[in-house]
């Protein structure tokens, strides 16, 4: 099973995982990693390595980082040179839920990462505009 690491600033990573678990139940092989203000980068680096090795069962790991260009993302990118890792930036709740369910399908690590990136983007919608459209052409 592909491992998942959610990496963020502040408590976002833990909260994302616990929120996802409230919706779909316990997520297997998921770790979190965060950086608080004032934490040395070396500490984060060590934490990230630990998180990755904890969830890596040999099928590789996808890191879901919060912000492209942020420290969690940058540190993940450094690691993916040497390990079987894909890094996604801009993690959101739909992406995390999808990442969990996609693991049961036979995909390569890079296919899975690509699908997740487009899925995450597709799930950012102007929901109120969709609702207005749906009210014009109701499904039910």
């Amino acid at each position: 099973m592909v491992g998942l690491v959610v990496a963020s600033h502040g408590r976002l990573a833990e909260e994302l995982v616990s929120t996802a678990e409230q919706i779909v139940g316990k997520l297997p092989a998921v770790a979190t990693c965060n950086i608080e203000p004032g934490t040395p980068v070396e500490d984060l680096r060590a934490k990230m390595k630990q998180a990755v090795s904890r969830v890596d069962a040999g099928d590789g790991v996808i890191i879901l980082a919060d912000l492209f260009g942020g420290t969690p993302c940058k540190e993940s990118l450094m690691m993916c040179q040497r390990m079987n890792l894909e890094v996604l930036a801009g993690v959101n709740l739909p992406m995390l839920l999808k990442a969990n369910s996609l693991r049961s399908e036979q995909l390569t690590l890079s296919e899975m990462a690509n699908q997740l990136a487009s899925y995450g983007q597709r799930n950012i919608t102007c929901a109120s505009a969709l609702l207005r459209e749906a009210q014009q052409q109701p499904r039910t």
Binding site: I23, G25, T140
Partner: protein, 161 residues
């Protein structure tokens, strides 16, 4: 064909869309609820939350043809807002093998029997009657959770008094 009947105060919401629909692999969701059916806004918002490959019907309780849903070959999840609706649906042909209690919110006179289920005495009695008629009753918010069977729910209800 009915895959599952679920009692959930919130009807279609995150747990249903993200956890139960993929788990059950249904092609149809039927919400039997007067309040939801009466609001075009709620109907549109709920239907929108479900991927378009899955048919969504949101109808008043009395207008649902439960017997027909039970007979055709379409795998179906039936959502009801409260326990009180279950006997009505059952009496109107709902083929009820398994009843799942998802979210039944707290209210006056209700006792907690699982993290997300609070039951009034009359509801517990209704559930016990259904069980006598051969329905398996369980409380479980999401598929991966361990189900709590009716015997345990009854016991917890008595202890919570």
């Amino acid at each position: 064909m009915i895959s599952l009947v679920r009692v959930d105060n919130r009807l279609i919401h995150g747990q249903v869309v993200e956890a139960w629909l993929p788990h059950l692999k249904v092609s149809r969701v039927v919400v039997a609820d007067d309040e939801a059916a009466s609001s075009p806004l709620i109907r549109a918002a709920m239907a929108l939350a479900v991927q378009s490959a899955i048919e969504v019907q949101i109808l008043p309780l009395s207008q649902v043809d439960f017997a027909a849903l039970s007979k055709d070959g379409v795998r179906t999840l039936v959502l009801l807002r409260d326990v009180a609706s279950v006997p009505f649906a059952y009496a109107h042909g709902l083929n009820l093998g398994e009843l799942n209690l998802g979210n039944v919110h707290f209210g006056t006179g209700r006792r907690q029997v699982s993290p997300s289920v609070f039951l009034a005495e009359a509801e517990l009695r209704t559930l016990q009657q259904l069980a006598e008629q051969g329905v398996r009753v369980e409380a479980r918010a999401v598929p991966s959770e361990k189900p709590v069977e009716l015997s345990d729910l009854s016991e917890r209800w008595a202890k919570a008094g």
